[in-house]
Symmetry: C2
Subunit: 281 residues, 2 copies
């Protein structure tokens, strides 16, 4: 049906080569978190977009490794006691539980830094886009709003802004990076931006659904955290039916955006929409 | 005598322009730490080296801003309760004391990321050298060894390795960046590497002296921390006289390295050696 599995397997064969292997606790911690079983959604999105535009595979793989390093670092820091205080991630103890907080802070720092070493070597033109997507005006900014949200009730619009920063910015980077590496046109980049906007929101909505309805043993992490933290979510604001309707709407928006990539083989980006829409609860 | 003050003043006029100004807690925290009165030693070293080789000033300023962002992020994370647990830095409360731990973690993350946004825009060829100097095989690696050192007594040689990673790697980046921006020769780069090796060790030795003998009110941070933590330092291993002798030796090594930069105006890099050697205790 779709090529998610083989592409992710290909990525996972290469990814360890980008990680340090020295026999010390820092490098072991980096590999513990980076090589834990993850969905690899961002690498997939980047590699698949790059392949649509016939971008060089080694560059796409390196950029995919960089984005996964950034994603893993963000999970490590988000899980810290001072942040979301999570004990489990990807089906194993969080890094600060496995080692200690200092190791988790430093391993996260090292992974973020490593991303820019990888890009600097293989695709330096992507350094600024990644930094902008990941920084104060992107992912970190979104995380900051998310933390502040524990003390107040966000409106739906504010949740969408939060989501567009916290997860949307990196999604955008993935498709823009693939497009840049393959010299896509501005029109095509704009269509991909529409696609990832809808895809990111779809991802958030299904994530909230999983948190509300999902099975922790299948997800490899605790559920109903937002509820316990008194945080407003798309579910608490829209209701289950409203959220499900919005999921269908965003899936259609994403599909319509792909129609604008005329003459490009978008079947797998199309499949990714279904994949996210129907992920296991 | 030397141009340290005017160069640093010039840098400090430009530095705020590289920082985000949005009216939210994350951006305020970034500016609180980044604009606190710091020595700006790394920006000075980078700008001065760049000027020796007639590198373009805007690029040198941007690279100096990037290295200072990395330095400030490292201070913020080092000060966290899970790390060195410091209450005061640069004469003001540490960031997690001023705000909270989550804000400090995220502001540090954002500053590290910002460094690569700045380089990506103004000097992308420096992204990989900076990432390598700051990451697992450089500064972060050194910090990890430093934390582990609380539970065992390091030998002198191990302290030197620690120092070469924790502070030396960024010092090297400063002179290498200046040299790269000014198209210095490989011989010149090698001489600068010798210079910064000695300068970095000199800095560490005088830092240990300041920690042992210095006045906290002049330093803007607590002293005798290493002693309290039971950490071996150059002072505890060499004795005060031995450390002072090594300071003179390293200062001479640094001066000799500068002699190899024939035909270049090294007077201010020479002055920096004296400046570090004699900084106020």
């Amino acid at each position: 049906m779709n090529n998610f599995k083989p592409v992710v397997q290909g990525f996972e064969q290469q990814f360890p080569k980008f990680l340090p292997q020295d026999p010390n606790q820092l490098c072991e911690a980096i590999r513990y978190s980076a090589l834990a079983p993850g969905k690899r959604l961002r690498p997939y999105l980047l590699i698949e977009t790059a392949s649509i535009f016939n971008a060089p595979t080694p560059q796409a793989l390196a950029a995919a490794a960089a984005i996964e390093c950034v994603h893993v670092y963000s999970l490590i820091h988000d899980d810290l006691p001072a942040m979301d205080d999570d004990d489990e991630r990807r089906g194993q103890p969080t890094l600060h539980k496995k080692y200690d907080e200092a190791t988790a802070i430093l391993a996260g720092d090292a992974l973020l830094t490593l991303a820019f070493s990888i890009l600097g070597e293989h695709a330096p033109q992507l350094s600024k886009p990644l930094a902008d997507a990941a920084g104060w005006a992107g992912m970190v900014g979104g995380q900051m709003i998310d933390l502040a949200a524990e003390n107040k009730t966000l409106k739906l619009e504010e949740i969408f802004i939060l989501q567009s920063l916290k997860t949307g910015a990196l999604f955008h980077f993935c498709t823009q990076a693939g497009a840049m590496l393959g010299n896509a046109s501005e029109t095509e980049k704009a269509a991909l931006k529409e696609y990832t906007s809808a895809l990111g929101l779809l991802f958030q909505l299904t994530d909230d659904l999983l948190d509300a309805e999902g099975d922790p043993s299948k997800l490899g992490k605790a559920t109903r955290k937002d509820d316990a933290a008194g945080k407003a979510t798309t579910i608490s604001l829209l209701g289950m039916d409203g959220a499900k309707a919005l999921i269908i709407e965003q899936a259609n928006l994403a599909k319509n955006a792909l129609l604008k990539l005329k003459g490009r083989e978008v079947i797998h980006l199309h499949g990714l929409i279904d994949f996210i829409q129907n992920r296991e609860r």
